[in-house]
Each structure stands twice: as structure tokens, then as C-alpha cells.
Symmetry: C2
Subunit: 417 residues, 2 copies
């Protein structure tokens, strides 16, 4: 079925907020056999009426996000009701739900919050247990200004992600599933991830073989520190594509699951019953943050140290002050000592260390901004220190440095180093 998404929000167009709804909806709807054909972002205000009218006769399902809240720029509900010629009525159940939620948050209802209980007659309320504005499902109906053509199945959802996400999962999907029943073809998709590779390298090596499987759809996405190869096809084709990639890049291919590298690393550690600690300088806790994004990581990640200052490296990791004085805090020697010291004090099976210059300040001719060393110490194995140079801004630098560090551990756990 032809599906489109309309995101309203002036803040999205002014650059105050990144639109995360599209990616969330795309990933959530695919298992129903639904693909988003186009997505439009428009400012708050009366253009929403035009935007929905444009989809009449082109889309069968339209999902609109935002503009249902209590403030003056939230007018999606009113404008769509007007477009479809529906009257707004106070829904007492919604009003009561809002009152209870506000009471739990120790706030009182005012005219603005009560307005969220106005529902177009004929619409189905999508209950919102996570915020005050309910979602709405409006079944297809004639649109006078579109020559009487039927409007698509219309879903109106609240803008805040922490309300929209659970509402989609728990309330909208059951409604959508009924609409789609027997009308969509479910096709498999896998996103194969390769660490620290270039997009064109991967394509040159595998594209011909994967396309030779016949009828598959192939795409690539280059990210900081990884390439994602997307394949749509039958289960057998997806398995064959995976074999092709794994054979071409045995050192780099790490997962067909939709998750970043830290999930693979934590999973390997859990299955092997091994633990890791981290000693970070320039990544400043980002590796620990990535590790602890994985539920259950406490079993394999007892501690992490962010040793920004030289004194912290000496006191917490036992890095000799003379070593720092001799080679500098950003050096292979100090990186190795950080990992060794971390392993000894944490008593883990592995210890990762990172030291480098994230910038924008702090660079020199010998060690420019972007210089970074990643180290790994493991019980009963040779220690490793790798130098890298990432000439990118601070945030990407942290991403790339954490990626090579995590990949060092992945390769060790997979017995590649």
C-alpha cells in the first residue's frame, strides 16, 4: 500500500531539532510490508491542510506527526478536521485521561490542555498513556476540495518521540495491521554491517555477486567507522548475500542484526563469560556510554575510567609520571601503559584504552589534532596498540576513535588478533 509521512514542526526546518520520527516509522512499519514512499516536513501552521490534500489520490495511508499539543502553534487537529468537514467534539474520556496525567505530574488542567480533548466526530482516538495529547485515526472520507476523492487512511500522532514511540507500537500498529491485512507483500531486509571499511571498496568486491542472486534490492550507507550494506530479498537470498559478504571481508563483517558495534562486542563477551574495563582519555566516556547502552552489560562491564588529567592516569591507572613526561600523554607508550594499568587494577579479562587529541585545540606539528592511539590488554595475550589519525570535528572524532577501539576488542574476541 502506498504510504506517506508528513512531519510538522517549524523547529525541524529551522534546525533546532533533528527529525527522528522518519527513521523510527520506517523501521517499525517495514515488518508489516509497508514502505514509506515519500516524507514531507512542513512548518507548523495552516500548510498542513494543503500537504494532506496533496496526498489524496496518491497515497493510501498517511501518517502525520506533531501539532497536537497544548500550545498556540499546535493546530493539526483543527485544520485536518476542517479539511475533511468533521466537527470537533469534547471527548470526556480523553479529558479525564488528561486530568489524571496532569494530576500525577502535579499540574492543573487549563484551557490549553483541555483543547487536546477535542476530537473530530467519526475519528477513532489512539489513547496516549505517555502524554496529554491523544493520537487520532481518521478513516478514508470524501474531500470536497479534491473533487470528492477519498482521503487516505489518516493517522495523527503527537510530536514528542517518547510519546510517539510507545503509541505507535502499542496503539497504532494493531489498527494498521487490520488495514494492511492481505494487501501487502512482506519481504525480508537485512542490514549487514562492516567495520572500518570504505563504501566503494565493499561495492566493488561484492555487488556483482549479490546482484547475480536475481531480484534482490541492494543499497549502501557509509557511516563514521562502518558501511551498512542493505539487501532486500527472500530469506534464501539474504542468507546467500551474507555468505558473499562474510567471505569477502572476514575481518570486517560483524553483524546482520540492526545494531551498532557495541552490541556485537557485549554479546561476544557475554557468550564467552569474559569482562572488560575501559580507560578513556580523549573519548571522554563515550566508549563506556556505548557499552552501557546495551541492556545487561553490567555482567561484563564492571567499571570504566575517564582519565582526562595526567594525574588521573597516574593515580587510577598507575601510568608512571615519567613515562608521560618522556613521551607525552598522547603516545603509544602511554596508551599501552593505560591498558595494562587498567587490566591490573580492574581485574577484568580485557582492558581498552584510548588517548588522543580531539581538538579543536591541543595539536602540534608532530601530533596534529586527530591523532589517537587505541590499546588493548588481555590476560595471557600480547598487548596491542594501534595509531590512527582522524581529521574530523570533535563529535565524529569521538565516534571514529570509539569505533576502532571497540573493533580491536571484537577482533581479539573473534581470535583475529
Amino acid at each position: 500500500m502506498r504510504l506517506e509521512v508528513i512531519n510538522t514542526g517549524t523547529e525541524l526546518l529551522l534546525g533546532n531539532t533533528v527529525n527522528t520520527h522518519l527513521a523510527f516509522l520506517g523501521a517499525t512499519l517495514l515488518p508489516l510490508g509497508l514502505r514509506i514512499g515519500r516524507q514531507l516536513t512542513i512548518p507548523d501552521g495552516d500548510i498542513i491542510g494543503d500537504a494532506v490534500r496533496e496526498t489524496v489520490g496518491r497515497a493510501e495511508i498517511v501518517i502525520v506527526t506533531g501539532g497536537l499539543g497544548p500550545t498556540s502553534d499546535d493546530i493539526t487537529r483543527e485544520l485536518i478536521a476542517e479539511l475533511l468537514g468533521m466537527r470537533l467534539e469534547l471527548n470526556v474520556e480523553v479529558e479525564e485521561a488528561i486530568r489524571v496525567l496532569l494530576w500525577r505530574r502535579k499540574r492543573e488542567m487549563n484551557e490549553a490542555t483541555r483543547r487536546q480533548a477535542m476530537v473530530p466526530a467519526g475519528a477513532q482516538v489512539l489513547a496516549n498513556a505517555w502524554g496529554t495529547a491523544p493520537g487520532l485515526y481518521l478513516p478514508p472520507g470524501p474531500v470536497a476540495s479534491a473533487g470528492g476523492a477519498l482521503s487516505p487512511h489518516l493517522f495523527l500522532l503527537p510530536g514528542p518521540p517518547r510519546e510517539l514511540h510507545p503509541m505507535v507500537q502499542e496503539v497504532m500498529l494493531p489498527v494498521l495491521r487490520k488495514i494492511c491485512e492481505g494487501r501487502t507483500v512482506i519481504r525480508g531486509m537485512k542490514n549487514f554491517r562492516l567495520a572500518n571499511m570504505g563504501e566503494s571498496q565493499v561495492a566493488a568486491a561484492v555487488e556483482e555477486d549479490i546482484l547475480a542472486l536475481g531480484g534482490v534490492e541492494l543499497g549502501y550507507c557509509a557511516r563514521a567507522g562502518e558501511v551498512v550494506v542493505r539487501v532486500l530479498g527472500t530469506p534464501a537470498q539474504l542468507a546467500a548475500a551474507e555468505s558473499i559478504l562474510a567471505a569477502a571481508f572476514p575481518q570486517h563483517y560483524f553483524t546482520a542484526q540492526d545494531h551498532p558495534l557495541e552490541f556485537t562486542v557485549v554479546d561476544l563477551l557475554m557468550r564467552m563469560g569474559q569482562t572488560v574495563a575501559t580507560a578513556e582519555s580523549c573519548t571522554g566516556g563515550f566508549i563506556a556510554h556505548r557499552m552501557t547502552n546495551v541492556p545487561g552489560c553490567s555482567a561484563i562491564f564492571p567499571r570504566g575510567l575517564v582519565t582526562y588529567a595526567n594525574e588521573a592516569k597516574t593515580e587510577l591507572l598507575g601510568v608512571p609520571a615519567e613515562l608521560i613526561a618522556q613521551h607525552g600523554a598522547v603516545s603509544a607508550e602511554v596508551c599501552g601503559a593505560m591498558a595494562a594499568g587498567c587490566l591490573a587494577s580492574a581485574g577484568t579479562d580485557h582492558a581498552l584504552s584510548v588517548t588522543g587529541i580531539a581538538g579543536p585545540g591541543g595539536g602540534s606539528e608532530a601530533k596534529p589534532v586527530g591523532t589517537v592511539f587505541v590499546g588493548l590488554a588481555s590476560r595471557g595475550r600480547e598487548p596491542v596498540v594501534e595509531p590512527h589519525l582522524f581529521k574530523v570535528e570533535r563529535e565524529t572524532f569521538k565516534q571514529l576513535a570509539s569505533q576502532v577501539a571497540l573493533d580491536l576488542l571484537r577482533r581479539r574476541l573473534s581470535r583475529m588478533i
Copy 2:
């Protein structure tokens, strides 16, 4: 001038990648007096021709991202040239730049990478020093299939953010500035941020007074742990709006700069010459990561500890094992002891601590998933421990918990607690 953005990329619609280009472009173009009127996301493939044709006669400037790379799904260049009736020619300078870049990355040129040097005759190359695919500027020209109407000023940019960002800043903006000269009205915008407030509370308290300034544009955006109040107007109006907000919420209003809370905290510490260390359990390094996202933070943040395991809390922070056995690791008592121990061992002016249950596992009836304590110890001041309950998924939980912790420090530095 009427400006639209078209982002191509099947991965954006399938949910593999979040579209960060729109927010970046919106924020970057505003100082030129340019506002994005609509933004469209479409899949890779031949729909790009239709999408650009739709903008003819409606937009004056159109920015297209993606589809310029070396792989088989990158066909933006070819389709737009076809739409505008332009011939593609090999540009030897671009070819040489690609060859040099590949050589620096220790790769060789192949047919796929060479294709990126094909440039429509009459287009201006926007040099790409950060990747292989150059950007292109195509001046307005007649579009046969649109009844001979003129196409907008067309900018084609590469998809990877770390290529697009510097190219926009250094190469596209100068071209755009010339086009806009004397044709746009530059209006000020401020995003006022309030920590840990509800959107409708803020609106109820200030909206009337801010709108009474006359001719201002007002919007709100609710985020995890903060509300952003966006005001567009003259410099005098923006100053007046700030006064209204600061008077209404003296404890919550923290910045008119476009930056998150950690920048305000680091700035306060730097100006006061004070330091902080962190002791994190459930936030798992996220507070340290946020602090170290601020350039220059090494002056005020010497160390951070991620003490996930109870032993780490005892060994690194001196939290008595009996205290943990008596009250549990997630308790006000342990949170206070973590902050006190961190302050003593790090020798900083302040120490922040967090302990809680991020979930999905680990909750109990007495302490459900979402329970969290944040603590602050400071030299010569009373320690503080605050309990909170955030019933949200893991990632938002870390965001909210880190936000209340950082805000605790902000309020202490501002002498509010």
C-alpha cells in the same frame, strides 16, 4: 527567497539512518535570512527527476542531498542532468582530486569512483576536500517538461554528513550568499532553554507577555529534560522575551545559546575556576561523554568514574560494602557516599553521582525500573541527593538522569542550592 530541500536516500525511509541534514541545513542557512519552506525525502532512484520538477515555479533555491557517490544506487547527477537537458562531461580536475584522495587512503581508482568526475556541462563544481564525490551548483535554466519554466538555483550535495557539513560551510555558502544578496530579510532568532520543565507550563506563564511584544514569532519544543522556546524578532524583542522568561523561571532558564546544558555547566565552571569529577552507575559514562563534548573541558573535568559493579563503587569511591548491603546500590545513602567518595579521591571542587535502574531488567516493587538518585558533593557546602523516577526506555532514561544531575550542578554553581 523560497527554499526547499530534497533528501534522497532509501536508507532514510527504511529507517536505517536518521536524517540529520535537514537540521544542519536549517540552522546554517538561517543567518543568511533563508528559511526552509518544505523538505522532502525520497528513495534512491529515478523519482529525483519528478521531485525536482515539482519545485519548478514554486521554489527559487533547491538543495538536493545524496546520490552522488560511487555505487549503483547513486544516480542523482545523471537524472538531474537529463531533466535539465545538460550533457555530462569528464572533469579532469575533479578526476585528479579523486585520484589524490584515494591515493591518500591507499585505494585505487576504479570505474565506479571515476564516474564521480562526470559533471553536467554548465554546472559549477563545488570542490569536495573531504570525500570523492564533488558537489554541483546548477544555475536556473529552462525545463522542457515544465513548459519551459525556469528551474530553481539547484545545489547537489553529497550524502555523508562529514563531507556535506564542511562543504556547505566552506564552498556552498559563499555561492549562496551572492544569490541572496539584497533579496532576503535577516531576522533574529533565539532558542531559550529551560531545564526540567513542561511545555504547557512554560507557555501558560509567558506566551501572552511575549506575544504582546508584537510581530514576534513564537514556538515551543519539548525535549527530554528541557523545553526550548523559540522566538523570532528584532534584537530588542529577543532581549525583552529573554527577560520575560528569566523572570518567570529564574531557577529553570539556563541559556539563549544554541547548546545543551553541559555547555552552560562547563562555562560556569571555567569562569569560576572550579572543577568537577563524576561517579556514574546507571548513566554509564553518559555524563562524562556530555561534559567532554565541550571543547576545552579538560581544564575543569580531570576525571570520571563509571562504577557499574558494587566492587568498583567500594574500591574506587570508598563506598562501604556494608552500606550497599544494607540499603542496596540504588539508594539515597549509596548515592551520597558515591559523591562524597568521588570528591575526596578526585580532589575536585564538586563531584556528581548517579545510581539507578535503567532497565529493562533489574527492577523490584520497592524500586521499579526508572528509579534514580542523583547526588552532589561540594567543598564546604551541604551535600544534596535527589530521588527521581523516569519510566521511559533505556536511552531516554540516561538522557533524563544525566540532565537532572547536570542541572543540580548548574543550580549549585548559580547559588540556587
